[in-house]
Symmetry: D2
Subunit: 486 residues, 4 copies
């Protein structure tokens, strides 16, 4: 029986045998932990949206012949790729944070074409190889309507060294044993977004590999509560406010992101769920396809951008300065930057081309350009939001002081703004801006925008590769009348 609603999704997470550590303690039930719950709510909203706007958040799957959550869809045309972006922006607007399902979606689409290519290169007959197994896995996920977490980033150890050269060979996830019925994995994945809120993990190599790295060329699907897996929760700015008695100081009380480290201590995976095992030649194209999808997936941040623009516009309104030309101008600049990100992202999706496997892959140059702007503009939007917020955002006393019978009335008296605006509403909006620019969701809106799907320099390397400087030089030389060039 598939998961149908947000409530069912949340219920589905209860009672798993997960080993999750947070603040030095083994968590009994993550679903009920006040720090973890907002991140679960964010994923749950992907189910909610599918119910509310099925055209947007579900798609017709050729694999199952049924309507499936769009996060599980293998893209069947350019429109499918475009619709991902529209859904991402909407979810960003609804949650104001990272809703954690894009890695899985992008991993499914990359794996779909790469397993096809491996099979083809191997001459493996259809139906018996990786691609067929992978399709079975995807169908399973679609039928159950599960959340799939993509797990790519290894800890990497000494950055100057290849996986096989590391002092500790476990610094990249690897096969430590091959049995008749499956493989045994050891290692870790760092910076794992939403893994604890997933049902299955899809592990993949993190970079180009060489022949000597053969044991690191492993792709596989694993249930999140498989024996041998440990999660250590990453702490975030202001995380403990969720444990205070307040729904104001949290800024965005309902939604949050999640980052954790996953440690695999000799985890067994049956071959039915292995989709690459030693084909090191395909690691590079897997990473490239994944990052192309995923860099354009950062269009989600324009949804968060809509929220921060709205928060900035609201606080300007509450402060009684909404009509000042410089305030208006800053809101326009924020909008312009936000839409510039969106333009490059949605363009990358529109310009999708079919792979040999038949699904659609977005334009790589524009996807990188989109992400590269994401490493810049949200920081400027944050700066402008802080400008409009005013200094009170960082000098506001705690909610507890507002509740205290001595200080509460004094604060209410002295923090009153223009007529018609309650001090509490003003606080709420200030705390939301704090949340997104230096608090818990600043992790998702800023730092994840910087490093997710590759740090800025990774995009520059890709942009350089696709820039065709030689072609551009020919254009210039022709117009300049260059003759007999060497």
């Amino acid at each position: 029986m598939p998961i149908r609603t947000a409530a069912e999704y949340i219920e589905s997470l209860r009672g798993r045998k997960l080993r999750v550590y947070l603040f030095g303690e083994l968590i009994d039930e993550p679903v009920d932990h006040p720090i973890i719950r907002p991140s679960i709510n964010a994923v749950a909203d992907t189910y909610q949206l599918a119910e509310e706007e099925p055209e947007l958040a579900t798609a017709s799957s050729k694999l199952t012949g049924q309507r499936v959550n769009r996060f599980l869809q293998v893209t069947q045309d350019a429109n499918d790729v475009v619709m991902q972006n529209r859904m991402q922006r909407k979810l960003g607007q609804r949650t104001g944070t990272c809703f954690q399902r894009c890695v899985g979606m992008d991993a499914i689409n990359s794996m779909f074409s790469v397993t096809f290519d491996i099979d083809k290169a191997n001459g493996t007959p259809d139906g018996t190889g990786y691609h067929a197994r992978f399709n079975e896995f995807v169908k399973h996920m679609q039928r159950e309507n599960f959340v799939v977490g993509g797990a790519m980033t290894d800890p990497k150890g000494d950055r100057g060294k290849a996986p096989h050269e590391q002092a500790d060979p476990d610094m990249f996830l690897r096969v430590v044993e091959r049995r008749a019925d499956g493989v045994v994995l050891r290692g870790a994945k760092a910076h794992q977004t939403g893994c604890i809120n997933s049902h299955w993990l899809l592990v993949m190599p993190t970079m180009r590999l060489s022949e000597q790295d053969r044991d690191y060329a492993i792709c596989a699907a694993i249930p999140v509560d498989h024996p041998g897996i440990t999660y250590v929760y990453g702490r975030q700015s202001c995380d403990t406010r969720a444990m205070e008695d307040t729904d104001i100081d949290t800024g965005n009380d309902k939604f949050g992101g999640q980052e954790a480290m996953i440690i695999f201590e000799d985890v067994f995976v049956p071959y039915s769920h292995v989709f690459m095992d030693g084909e090191w030649q395909f690691a590079a194209s897997l990473v490239e396809r994944f990052t192309a999808y995923h860099r354009r997936s950062y269009v989600c941040k324009t949804g968060l951008g809509d929220v921060i623009i709205g928060a900035a516009a609201t606080i300007a309104d509450y402060n009684g300065v909404a009509k000042a030309s410089h305030i208006r101008d800053k809101l326009v600049e924020m909008t312009h930057l936000n839409e510039t990100i969106y333009g490059a992202g949605i363009a990358a999706s529109h310009e999708s081309k079919p792979t040999s496997a038949g699904n659609y892959q977005c334009d790589e140059m524009l996807a990188n350009v989109c992400k590269h702007n994401v490493t810049r503009f949200p920081y400027e939007l944050s700066r402008l939001a802080q400008d409009l917020a005013g200094g009170l955002m960082v000098t506001l006393p705690s909610d507890a002081d507002f509740k205290n019978p001595t200080t509460g009335p004094l604060l209410q008296k002295y923090l009153a703004g223009r007529p018609g605006v309650s001090v509490d509403n003003r606080r709420r909006v200030l705390r939301l801006i704090e949340n997104m620019t230096m608090g818990r969701n600043a992790v998702g809106y800023l730092t994840e925008s910087m490093h997710g799907a590759g740090s800025p320099q990774a995009q520059r390397v890709q942009i350089a590769r696709m820039a065709d400087f030689e072609g551009k030089k020919r254009l210039a030389k022709k117009l300049a009348g260059v003759k007999d060039d060497e």
Copy 2:
């Protein structure tokens, strides 16, 4: 017999009864004038491209049932709009300048839907109204394969006043007389790109009008050499180099842009070529549709961007520093900015929606965002190109000094760079960068990028209108938990 080739196009321009003034003189034959000719060559290349790449630069017209030059096509689906951008970039790459036909293309598409809307509002039966007349005009242009120049910008006089309030009522083009068979027009159009290289002009109002501006609400088609029309050529930086005995100092010897002022001294237009006459209510939507198309048409500048990136890469290579990391990084930055423009532009086209008249109109927000980036990034690309060029770009002696038997050999000796690079090729590339950043094509690459299709503030006004700040405020308030907001 339609024009079929670039050569035929150039031939078609000879012998017209144009009154063109340049440097205080009435020009005998513009086609043969060394300053004007490069701008004609640029338009001719649009014919050349149609021959070389018909898929790109022609389209199947429903109106005539034939394949027509894409600059004359009424867009029939979103792909038609997207293909305009691809063609524009390609022509920018081929000419390194403004090829002058986009205004006409965008005017045709705006007029197509606005004439339809006027007819509909007027209850005019199909076949007798503006839309039908306009379609006939377009068919005529398509059959003859003519160049149509769109003429929108009036001189405007005192900016604080409406057309009917001006001290001199001719500061906006207007109907001064209505006869039985047509109207008589007086006024001028400023900053007219490529008008002298066109066969027909399509005049349109330049801004929102009120009822009192009724006589200014005029759209009409006029042959360029109609009696009563005078052209005064605008001068451009370094324009007279085209009259020197050199093909090097010109930078881009073959191609250039063209700006002129057109003065209408009581020009008669028969009603068959009048497409709006007094319907002031539709001036605003005509301008908005036109600017939406045209702001996205500035994707052409990414073609020029490709040339300037190529020129910068070439000069870095000639200077022997192409592998320096900071050089490489600047080329990447130039590419990133250039593609950011492209992303927003092509996205605006992909997101086109049908009008009630049936042609396709691009997304207005993304079109404005595209153009707004065009008012910024080409300047930064120019700055970076000047950085890579080195100071020699502005201290290089004239070509005449290189031809002088005394100084020529000295200059050849002392300006030699790394082995294998001729001094002349180095000069050619430096002069191309000079041409695009401060010379003749800087007009097209920079200042036109700033002001064409509306100055930056015009985009900000449009972005503000479409930003839906109220909707964004609701998003923020919901997440912040704002209660009982006034």
Copy 3:
């Protein structure tokens, strides 16, 4: 007996009758509160520096004839103003946060000349008026070596209204009663930096006043623990980490800033400590002089900039990528921006001119330019620091997880970087960058940089006033050969 050392300073704060609220509770002894203590340590370091580098952090006072802490010095020449900046940068480097004494220093210097001007305007004989009283107050502070907190910013209520127009007249601090021996004050001061760590407060009006605002034109000195004063501590991002059992997750365990709201409930001040009472005409020049000094005082942020550059350079080193050209280039860019701030600030100080009272006032244009860059560049330095830090900064588990016997060894294993770098040192530097870019000291490094001493628009207004556009127009017209201009 004056305070001589950092330890004596801290001791001097004990046992005061302060009413300080934090997290809804009345604090028993602020000195021992883990959240408050780091802010006290930062102020204490100003005493420490005076001991270690007396040339830098003390000055010879004409008033007392003795060497006094530079924060209490009335500037006697331009060098005194310059030395303030040098001291500020050094303290920023030492503490990585706001050390809270600049407001008092700048208030003393502004009040010095404004009291002189009021006396002069009033024809008050020297020795009996405000200036003489103020000098006595300063001498007292110098002799005791006290910390003076300047209190300027009122809550302001409805921003569109003047003090006397507010629905609640207490929205700006005001005289509610004039007695024979002194005045009674009511109101509040918001965003008060370091007030709880001061010995005396110097209250001043926050903006230009009109005659009807006469009761708001009040300057006075008040001991911090005067009856009727209540402090409510402002909460900051990640503030509660100081209460956790960790010296790592705090990022900067020793030093922090402090913001509080001060509420005055009918506080009596004897005339001996009143330095303006009703002279509303002088409020504007007091604010202008204060902001000129204080905007240039933001040179302190270049000291914090040095720390964040150092932290970014360290983490690049720990990550084994310090030699990558793009890493190096980002460190250079950070340095360039940081020194650009410093240049404008130190220039403003060097260009100081004597006031009629004899002390030295910095250049107003350059001071505003300095601060305006401070509202931009620290954000870009933060962005670049986050770039260099890598994603681990926001996914790193808590210190408690490192101490846990199960997860600790796993984390140590998998977070190992290049040889020779301990995981703990890596964590420490990452937490410092988190602290400065989104944690507790981001308040001081970013938001305070935005809003302290006036928000960006306040500087733009001042820059416009001093820009002398008319003079610049004359320069241009002369060169252009403009004739008979209206």
Copy 4:
């Protein structure tokens, strides 16, 4: 008899035996050439200013005991260095272009200390060595009030090779023969600012040299019209407009810059005017000192910035939009950027320290920061000026069309703006902005700002050297509590 006035200066240039080539022709008398004359006028204005404001533009020389032109002064205290900046800004404001004397001024001050150091290292007794000879030379210049052109930049040939490694050994100026009474020089100097308008040239090596480059380690003074010297004039954007019959289209009709290549064909220099000959070890410090001075000398561009801000403010006024908030805001931004440059420059001068020779050397970090901002901000000022100018700047017909009896009245009619503004004045200001952003003085305002005194990367290298990253790392590590760092 020294030169006392601008008129005498111009007269002093007549009748020299200069070999100057321009547009392939040997120029008879440069003073009377319409392209060259504006550059002479700019230098003449340095004499004019000395007459009008002697406190600003002259100084008391210890060498001669007399008041001398400040461009010839050996700086005697920090104020002398500061006053250079003030004078430079003023001359930038008066001329709107490069007035060409800074290289000489900065060369004199660098040579002063370096000749002292060489003597000291050589143990040469005072009076007989380089320093004494150099002082004699400076005294001669001061007494005659001559213009000294500093000539540093060699053509450099293959950038990857040292002087002695070049295929053609003449690619750097060198000693080809040593005679009993002097040396013979061969080579060239490129990008020479104002050389033709000078009386003497001071040649210096352009970069760090090694022992094998000994013959390139040559500093010497040479009269500009010495036998064997040839000048080839560099062409500039729009240079030939100076030869048209117009004082409007030139934009800045009176003043311009000058760049030329100087070729030395076996030029003899007596030892009395040789100040370095073979001391290759001192080439690096000479270059470093010179560039430190000279990078800060780019404060002159803030004078040009004042002009372009004034021009932008004027055209906004003429266009009737001066009060629009976005226009005002752009003028403020231009001012802010311009003053940011000034701040770093004047700070570098204020922070000057004495050399061992006794003159004052500016702060190297701030000088580099100043120049680095100069490679960015004037481009942004230009972009904003073009924004405010409107498109007419590049579509305006030529002055000849305004003089033509047919088109003149039409243009006057249709280009009328708001009442009270003449079309001619509007044209004049537009042409001035064109002149500074893409015309003749764009060379000085933009490209020279980029490359003069070293290209951007040269500043970044210096900033990196002085950044003390190790010291900054220590600051960060201390605050982070880093322990037992390797």
